[in-house]
């Protein structure tokens, strides 16, 4: 019986450009921590090996420090780590791997398969058929040689590849690095460990995408896992168990606000989130000034509490009521201007909406001055 962990798409060195630097740095940092957790998990579960199906690194030119940190993060598990390059870290003439070799920072228990072929681990009954990417993109199926590659008898035949299984991943129909959906069967594989798809996905009984262990986008396709695979003997069906290892939870939420109560409901939803959460919130609808003010307070509070709050309120209208206007004491021609702006923002006039916000703020500010 052989047990190993299947993971992929670590994307070490990834930068979170859309986020403020305060958020981006912890998010990048989290990827190292997750790798450390994988190592810890491997030791804890006592597996025989860890297979990483490509895109260990997000880029070829990550800094030396990043390189060293990654290999250091593997330290907790002393068994074999079997890695292949993916499209982000393809084994080019000069690559993150050649650099790692130059820096001499690859530990001896890390086995990089950077040429297509078989690497046998007889002591754990495992032969890994690797299909590394040696170019950034290929349009031929690199797993095709698996069909004819021989492995020492008695060892499990486990494929390790990076690409998109044709016809099953609707969004990536024309994507590069294709993989035949029936490769496991045709190549008589006991298991085919795939990378590239960031969500957890089973293709057939022997073929899986583990997904990225740490989410990096707001796609709810079950990222944040590693797979533990147990195969009792060559030809036996694998037993696959998933483990959640992600540090941060990424949420995408769209809210239509029209009644003051909607703001309260949103507040409750936000209250349920904490420092582990990364939220992309899209707001639309219309609010009176009071509700808008409450919303602002709510969002400010959430932004401070959540790991990151990405807000899109482009579609949210400010709709001052008559009472609002009265409360602002926008008398005389100010009232007329206010009215004009309210009319205009109905017609999708963003500038008018902004102007309205500015005017309302000025008036409120003035009022506070007067009251004070």
């Amino acid at each position: 019986m052989t047990r190993f962990l299947h993971t992929a798409d670590w994307q070490i060195g990834r930068q979170y450009g859309r986020f403020a630097p305060d958020d981006a740095i912890p998010l990048a940092e989290a990827r190292f921590l997750t790798v450390e957790r994988i190592a810890a998990l491997a030791r804890e579960r006592g597996v025989d090996a860890v297979l990483v199906a490509g895109d260990v690194f997000d880029a070829q030119t990550v800094s030396e420090r990043t390189l060293r940190r990654l290999f250091n993060a593997l330290a907790a598990f002393a068994g074999p780590w079997v890695l292949i390059p993916g499209n982000h870290d393809a084994a080019l003439a000069e690559s993150v791997w050649t650099r790692a070799r130059r820096f001499n920072c690859i530990p001896p228990n890390v086995h990089l398969i950077d040429r297509p072929g078989v690497q046998a681990f007889p002591d754990i009954g495992l032969a890994v058929l690797g299909a590394p990417l040696t170019q950034r993109h290929t349009h031929s199926d690199l797993t095709e040689p698996f069909d004819t590659l021989e492995t020492p008898p008695g060892l499990l035949r486990v494929g390790l590849a990076h690409g998109s299984v044709q016809g099953l991943l609707a969004e990536e129909v024309d994507s590069a690095n294709p993989i035949a959906p029936d490769r496991a069967r045709r190549a008589r594989l006991d298991y085919l460990a795939l990378g590239d798809w960031h969500g957890l996905k089973q293709i057939d009984e022997r073929t899986w995408y583990s997904g990225t262990p740490e989410p990096d986008r707001f796609k709810s396709n079950a990222p944040g896992h590693v797979l533990e695979v147990e195969i009792t003997a060559p030809g036996a069906l694998p037993i696959v168990t998933s483990h959640a290892v992600a540090r941060f939870r990424w949420h995408e939420q769209a809210e239509m606000l029209s009644l003051p109560g909607d703001v309260d409901r949103l507040g409750e939803a936000l209250a349920a989130l904490g420092a582990q959460d990364v939220l992309s919130l899209t707001l639309s609808g219309r609010l009176d000034l009071a509700a808008h003010q409450r919303l602002q307070a709510l969002l400010g509070e959430a932004a401070g509490r959540l790991r990151s709050l990405q807000l899109d309120a482009e579609a949210l209208r400010l709709a001052p009521t008559e009472e609002d206007v009265e409360a602002l004491r926008a008398d005389g021609y100010l009232g007329e201007v206010l009215g004009e702006l309210r009319r205009r923002q109905e017609g999708e006039d963003e500038v008018a909406r902004e102007a309205l916000t500015v005017l309302a703020a000025l008036l409120r500010e003035r009022q506070q001055e007067v009251n004070a």
Binding site: Q15, Q60, G332, Y333, V358, L359
Partner: protein
């Protein structure tokens, strides 16, 4: 507001109290000449309201020279249904008291109340100034001030606005202008004021975005380069692997070695050939030597024939020279004879020439002698004449001075004569009978006559006795003495000169002059004939005579003259001699030449004979013949030997050429280069791999992708920020425009009531004209219907004519008053000498306007032209009368 009573005391020119009572609620007209106190009354009203009771800077209110006075004004008026009494006293007893119905206010409170009531401000310190006066400042027109309005309106704007807003309710904004200014401020932080271009933080953000974009592009480029280099490295590595597997330079090296071996073999054969070829040269040299021997023999044969020929020619030449010698000698002798003949002839010609020359000289001397003889004779004749003339001149000598003295003496004598006659007694007689004649001093007197008596005379009258006549006077005797003296002097001179009379003296002097001229002429002639004197002339003649004799002797000594007169001229004879001499020289030379030619020819003949003999002996020897034959035989043998060798060499050369050694050389070169190139390429690739690895290593260390992601993120944030700023700027711009627009519309709405009042008066003053109010409530340009043009150049109020401005100023004020009235504010209108620049027509219209306005407001008119206001519809009150009355 209705002013009912006014009382002033100790106020400027009113030391005594003056009181105006029973003021009409409408129009009130006060008249009086200048200085009567109209303006003082106006000043009093102003002071009562504007000047602070405690002000110490109002000393001008005191009567002149009265420092202890307390100027005092008391006013009764009614407004808003309340009755007011204002009592204000300045300087010495400062006080202000305002009674409002039952309420009494004192000092500051009282003044504050007045401010609020009428709409003006109090000066914090010092005298009140126009900017404090507010509405009264506008409605109370000072003397000569009705044409000005801008400042007054400005100082009253706030009060007017309040009045306007009061009438319009809450339409106006309390916060509008504040918000407007904040929006403008915020907008101008992001956009330039005029063109609305980005500035400040907005501009900074845009710049930062552009910089980021540029940096990003740079990084992208570098990354692209990096990737290219990575690809290149892959390619180079593949090529190196291929090179190392195939080693393409090795086959070239092997082929090159084979070609080199072939080439070496050929080289060896060629060297052998060369050695054999070198044998040809000595062979050729031997043949040439033999040929030379044969040739030398033939040469000697030819030389002998030449020598024979030369000998013949020399003999012939000798004969010819001998023949030529005799005629030449003959010709030389002839020429010698001709030369001697020419010499003799020349001597004869020269002798004849000499004789002719002597003869000519002799003839010339004889001629000269003759001439000299003539001249000598003439000169001697002249000499004789000259001596005679000189002798005569000596005799006749009487010079000019002597003549002059003589003349003077004669003159004196005559003068004395005349004087004596004048002094003498004149005696006249006339006798007419023939008797005995009377006698005077013994001299008978007959007939008629007369005589001068110079001394006593006796007249004897025959028959009668005698009469003694004695001339009178002593002078006569003195004169007689002088006369005798003069006569004696004259006579003495005459004797000395040897003349009888003066005439004779004159004649002698003339003769002397003529003689002198003649002598001069003769001397000149003589000088010409014999410049050196006659003896010299004589000597010359004698000398010449001697010369003639000498010449004669010379001629006689010459040989006798040639009988043959046909001698050639001298030049010809000389030329003949020269020609003859030259010919002789030539003939002599020719003869000598012929002589030496003959001698030479004889020498040549001897030499030729010797040489021919020597050569002939050498050639005809046995030894020489044998040597020739031997040389000819040897040469033929050697020629055959050389031919054999040459054909052998040709065959070998053909073998070598058939192997194409030059192509083999090229093959070696080509193959060795190919090997080299292949190897160099391999090395080059290895170097490129090194270089690429180093470069990539460096670039990899820079973390280009990290940088790119960071920059991309920064750019994204910057773009978002720019977008926000842009939207904000646009929003602020929009907001500002909207606020301005709405504010303008509102202002127009606000001004509508004021406009209405203004139009009412304007229609009376300028029918069919329009005036718009600007934002400050100031009347704008006057627009007249019909021509559509503006009155005045730029159309503004200040550019109207003075009169029109005055009228416009007044009707605008009335309109403000109407507005204030509608707002429930007190109005009181004071006109101090207004409208003095208006023509009759406009003034009439203005009176109608004033009359109309007076139905709503109390108006106090002060004027020094009572006649101009007679038709105002109210009785004029004379200030003077009022003073008298009080």
């Amino acid at each position: 507001m209705k002013l009912q009573r006014l009382r002033i005391e100790q106020f400027k020119q009113f030391r005594q109290p003056l009181e105006l009572v029973n003021l009409e609620p409408g129009l009130n007209l006060f008249t009086g000449p200048n200085e009567s106190g109209k303006s003082t009354i106006v000043r009093a009203i102003r002071a009562a309201f504007f000047e602070r009771y405690r002000s110490s800077s109002v000393k001008e209110l005191q009567p002149w020279g009265d420092g202890g006075a307390s100027p005092c004004v008391e006013l009764d008026f009614e407004t808003g249904g309340s009755r007011y009494r204002l009592h204000k006293q300045f300087l010495q007893r400062k006080r202000c008291r305002l009674q409002v119905d039952a309420l009494a206010l004192e000092n500051d409170d009282a003044e504050q109340r007045l401010c609020e009531l009428l709409g003006f401000q109090l000066a914090q310190r010092g005298e009140s100034k126009p900017e404090h006066w507010g509405i009264p400042g506008l409605l109370w027109i000072e003397q000569g001030g009705s044409h000005q309005i801008r400042d007054e309106v400005q100082h009253a704007t706030d009060h007017l606005r309040t009045a306007l807003q009061g009438s319009l309710g809450e339409v106006a904004s309390t916060a509008g202008d504040d918000v407007l200014s904040r929006v403008r401020e915020q907008r101008n932080e992001l956009l330039t004021e005029k063109k609305g271009e980005p500035r400040g933080p907005y501009l900074d953000a845009l710049r930062q975005r552009d910089e980021l974009q540029a940096a990003l592009q740079d990084t992208q480029q570098r990354l692209a380069q990096y990737r290219e280099q990575v690809d290149r490295l892959g390619q180079v590595q593949a090529e190196i692997a291929l090179d190392e597997a195939e080693r393409p330079w090795e086959p070239f090296q092997r082929q090159r070695q084979e070609a080199q071996q072939q080439l070496d073999a050929l080289q060896l054969a060629a060297e052998q050939l060369q050695r054999q070829r070198e044998q040809l040269a000595p062979l050729d040299r031997q043949i040439a030597l033999l040929q030379q021997q044969i040739d030398a023999h033939a040469q000697q044969q030819r030389a002998l024939a030449q020598r024979e020929q030369a000998l013949g020619a020399a003999l012939q030449a000798q004969e010819l020279a001998a023949q030529r010698l005799e005629p030449a000698r003959r010709r030389a002798q002839d020429a010698r004879q001709a030369q001697l003949d020419a010499q003799a002839l020349l001597e004869r010609v020269r002798a004849q020439q000499w004789r002719a020359s002597l003869r000519r000289e002799q003839d010339a001397a004889a001629q000269r002698v003759r001439t000299l003889d003539t001249a000598l004779a003439e000169a001697q004749a002249h000499g004789t004449e000259l001596a005679r003339l000189r002798e005569e001149l000596q005799r006749q000598a009487l010079d000019a001075a002597q003549l002059k003295e003589l003349r003077a003496l004669e003159q004196r004598w005559r003068e004395l004569e005349l004087r004596r006659e004048a002094a003498a007694t004149q005696l006249r007689w006339h006798f007419n009978h023939a008797g005995a004649a009377p006698r005077l001093d013994g001299e008978p007197l007959e007939g008629k006559g007369g005589r001068l008596l110079l001394q006593p005379a006796v007249l004897e009258l025959p028959g009668f006795g005698q009469v003694t006549v004695t001339p009178g006077g002593a002078d006569l005797e003195k004169l007689a003495a002088q006369l005798a003296d003069a006569m004696a002097t004259l006579e003495a001179l005459r004797r000395r000169l040897g003349v009888e009379t003066l005439a004779e003296a004159e004649a002698r002097h003339e003769r002397q002059r003529v003689l002198a001229g003649r002598i001069e002429t003769l001397q000149a002639l003589l000088a010409q004939l014999a410049p050196r004197g006659v003896p010299a002339l004589q000597a010359e003649r004698d000398e010449l005579q001697g010369r003639i004799a000498a010449l004669e002797a010379q001629i006689a000594a010459l040989p006798a003259a040639d009988a043959d007169a046909n001698l050639p001229p001298l030049a010809q004879a000389e030329q003949s001699l020269k020609d003859a001499a030259r010919q002789w020289e030539q003939a002599q030379a020719a003869a000598q030449q012929a002589q030496s030619a003959l001698a030479q020819a004889q020498g040549a003949v001897e030499h030729a004979q010797r040489e021919r003999e020597a050569l002939r002996l050498a050639l005809e020897s046995e030894e020489a013949r044998q040597a020739l034959e031997r040389a000819q035989a040897e040469r033929l043998a050697l020629l055959r030997q050389r031919e054999d060798l040459e054909s052998l060499l040709r065959a070998k050369q053909a073998d070598i050429e058939a192997a194409r050694p030059e192509l083999l050389k090229q093959d070696v070169l080509r193959l060795s280069r190919s090997a080299e190139v292949a190897y160099q390429q391999y090395q080059e690739r290895r170097r490129e791999r090194e270089a690429l690895q180093i470069r990539l290593d460096e670039a990899g260390a820079q973390g280009l992708e990290d940088a790119l992601a960071t920059q991309r993120a920064a750019l994204e944030r910057s773009q978002r920020h720019c977008g926000e700023l842009q939207r904000r700027a646009q929003a602020l711009d929009l907001l500002l425009n909207l606020l301005n627009e709405k504010r303008r519309a509102l202002t127009q709405r606000l001004q509508a009531p004021l406009q209405k009042h203004l139009n009412r008066y304007l229609a009376l003053l300028f029918p069919r004209a329009r005036v718009e109010l600007d934002e400050t409530l100031m009347p704008g340009p006057l627009r007249r219907e019909g021509n559509g043009s503006l009155d005045g150049e730029g159309g503004s109020f200040e550019q109207l004519s003075f009169g029109a401005r005055e009228q416009m100023g007044l009707i605008s004020r009335l309109a403000y008053a109407d507005l204030l009235k509608e707002a429930g504010r007190p109005t009181l209108i004071l006109l101090d000498d207004a409208l003095v620049h208006s023509d009759a027509g406009r003034l009439a219209a203005m009176k109608r306007i004033l009359f109309d306005a007076a139905t709503r407001h109390q108006i106090l008119v002060f004027s020094c032209h009572p006649e101009a206001w007679r038709d105002l519809g109210v009785a004029a009150r004379s200030i003077e009368a009022l003073r008298r009355g009080s």
